[in-house]
Amino acid sequence: MKPRRLRNVAAQTALIPSWLIVIFAYIGTIAWTIRISFTSSGIFPHYDWVGLKQYDRLFDSHRWVVSVQNLAIFGVIFIVGCLVLGFLLAVFLDQKIRGEGILRTLFLYPYAMSFIVTGLVWQWILNPTLGIEQAMHAWGWSSFSFDWLARGDRAIYLVAFAGIWQSAGLVMAILLAGLRGIDEDLWKAARVDGIPAWRIYLSVVIPMLSGMFVTALVLLGIAVVKVYDLVVAMTGGGPGISTEVPAKFVIDYLFNRQNVALATAAASVMFVAVFVVVGPWLYSQYLRRRPGEAS
């Protein structure tokens, strides 16, 4: 098509604000972060050069190692939990049920609340002397015991659990939007052919929703890598350092511990790790020219 290039001028122009943001805000910040990670900066960035000193300290830090392990545990449970629960809720809400508007808002409300306080409430509920355990004892089930919050090896699961509570509604909304974009005729045709609904979901609908699943997955992935509020509000990183996560490491050193250099070193490692893990996928998804694209 000949006029394509001409029309593309409009498309290119439309992208100019985004280009500016990408270049200054994102690439600029990434370059700055990497640069500062090679300095000895305290509260204020300054531009000396100490080589890999911060990285040595980072990888020597027990807390960093624990943080990375927790990220893996949290990430798997949180993402799988949100996708499964979010998908089920979306599908069930899509069955022409009564009170959909109310139920939808109800599943979404945790996302709207400041986690400073909802995290505190979860702390209470999960606390053995205040919450569920105490209530069960009061109702006469005296052998009931639930002390995961106090156990260094279990507390991270509860953080993931509260995370699912907070974010599953969002996944539901995204998938529901996708479901509502599916042609009504599909269901009519299926009904005529007598195919059970679950088979349609499994073999037709889920593939059709792949774009929405990718959106949800990326969103959840970003939430996992950046998880901070949830941990601060639920456990403060404790017991001890057993629920620490990388983003909390960065933020603690950036502000409270006044070591910007170590914080940026940690942020750079996070960035490189994401680049290595997500980069190839992003490349194949968005950068590689797909066959038949040059329409």
Binding site: I43, R63, T129, A150, P239, G240, R257
Partner: protein
């Protein structure tokens, strides 16, 4: 319909953005000849309000105009982040709170804070302010901050009713403490109400280090970072005592906040709690009297007072230098000091001041100060970075019974050697 709405909304936003630029560019100067001071601090709770109000009232009464910029969060992290970025961005506040200690050192080194020597000379501060605090706000012989209060973190609070129920007396030593704790346990009372936050566990650790180990050990270990002191038997004893405390906490520690921990003591559901003197706020809030219903011991064992607290710094290039001068002067006036510290539950920073109004626990503190039985807070002695590393270690040890005192001491030595 929707598309036209969207189109106009987009257009409207763009116009709004353009229109907002000149409006926002004009900065606000001092109004009506009053000396304005915008103050960043993190005293945001209802109980802290009463204290801040004392500053505000006194400042406004002397012709100032207090502009409040309170920001809570993370023990002052959010407020400091805000203030530091405003200095970087060229819009500094007139005054800004820090904890007494090394938190603002870098601002001094970068020449971002006003030198307060002329004011100190004019008002004779250098003779009146507690010497530990004065040296903490002085760098190269120049004064860069105004200390406003002294908080001690080294307090043991105990419930008289719980001790009575267990048939024991308030402890005089750590041996007594553990005897009492065993008796409390037997009586079905939580011996030690401990909160889950790491900083509260660090606070308990310093209680043990100073109370059990004594002032000299504390200074040798924390200030001088002496490897010999850390490897000494005395420090091992501290580690063992601190480790032993792990057996006297209950399951509800994790996820409990400091005020819920002291509430257990106030209710008589727990015997002991280690907390700073701000715990008095919770006690009086419940209609109880500190020193009577809930007893207080400053540094069980070797009694001592811990000198920490808050200071205000005055950035250069702020909008109103006269407002800064006035505010600094007002904050250190004896009358204002007494009024403020009474509300705050802390002790005035001026050495020669009437203490008749103070409660029983604060009076104990002042007596220790007069006898010079005090130590500087760890914030004064070590950097926030090092404090952070110690916090990670102390809370890991306290919450993991499988970690031995020996391992704790070894890790402690490693951190201090760096």
């Amino acid at each position: 319909m929707m598309r036209s709405v969207t189109k106009y909304a987009l257009l409207g936003t763009a116009m709004g953005l353009l229109a907002a630029v000149p409006a926002a560019a004009q900065s606000s100067g001092s109004d009506g000849g009053k000396d304005k001071a915008e103050v960043i601090h993190w005293w945001t709770s209802g109980s802290e309000h009463a204290a801040v109000e004392q500053f505000e009232k006194a400042f406004d009464a002397q012709g100032g105009n207090w502009v409040d910029a309170a920001v809570a969060g993370g023990g002052g992290d959010a407020a400091r982040t805000n203030g530091i970025n405003r200095i970087v961005g060229g819009n500094p506040p007139d005054a800004m709170q820090f904890n007494t200690g090394k938190q603002f050192d870098e601002l001094v080194q970068n020449g971002l804070l006003r030198n307060l020597d002329p004011l100190a000379q004019k008002y004779g501060w250098k003779k009146e302010i507690n010497p530990v605090l004065l040296s903490a706000v002085t760098e190269d012989g120049h004064m860069y901050a105004v200390p406003v209060n002294i908080h001690s973190n080294i307090w043991l609070w105990y419930s008289n009713s719980a001790l009575d129920k267990a048939g024991v007396k308030p402890p005089q030593s750590w041996d007594d403490f553990f005897k009492d704790a065993d008796a409390l346990k037997k009586a079905g009372i939580i011996p030690l109400a401990q909160a889950g936050d790491a900083w509260t566990q660090v606070l308990t650790f310093f209680n043990v280090l100073i109370g059990e180990g004594g002032k000299d050990l504390y200074m040798n270990v924390v200030k001088d970072r002496s490897a010999d002191a850390i490897k000494s038997d005395a420090f091992m004893k501290v580690a063992q005592t601190f480790g032993k405390l792990r057996n006297y906490v209950d399951d509800g520690m994790q996820g409990r906040q400091w005020n819920q921990a002291i509430a257990l003591v106030i209710d008589g559901k727990a015997g002991f709690n280690f907390m700073g003197d701000w715990a008095k706020g919770e006690i009086t809030h419940d209609g109880k009297v500190p020193g009577k219903d809930v007893g207080c011991i400053p540094g069980l064992g070797h009694n001592a007072f811990w000198i920490g607290g808050d200071v205000f710094v005055f950035p250069k290039n702020a909008k109103d230098e006269k407002g800064q001068d006035l505010l600094a002067k007002v904050m250190l006036e004896p009358k204002v000091q007494v009024a403020f510290n009474k509300e705050k539950g802390s002790v005035p920073v001026l050495t020669d001041i009437s203490t008749d109004d103070l409660d029983a626990c604060a009076t104990k503190g002042v007596n220790l100060l007069k006898k010079e039985d005090y130590v500087p807070s760890s914030d004064i002695l070590i950097s926030p970075d090092l404090t952070g590393s110690l916090t990670d270690l102390v809370s890991s040890f306290f919450t993991d019974k499988s970690m031995t005192p020996q391992a704790f001491v070894d890790n402690f030595a490693d951190i201090m050697a760096k």
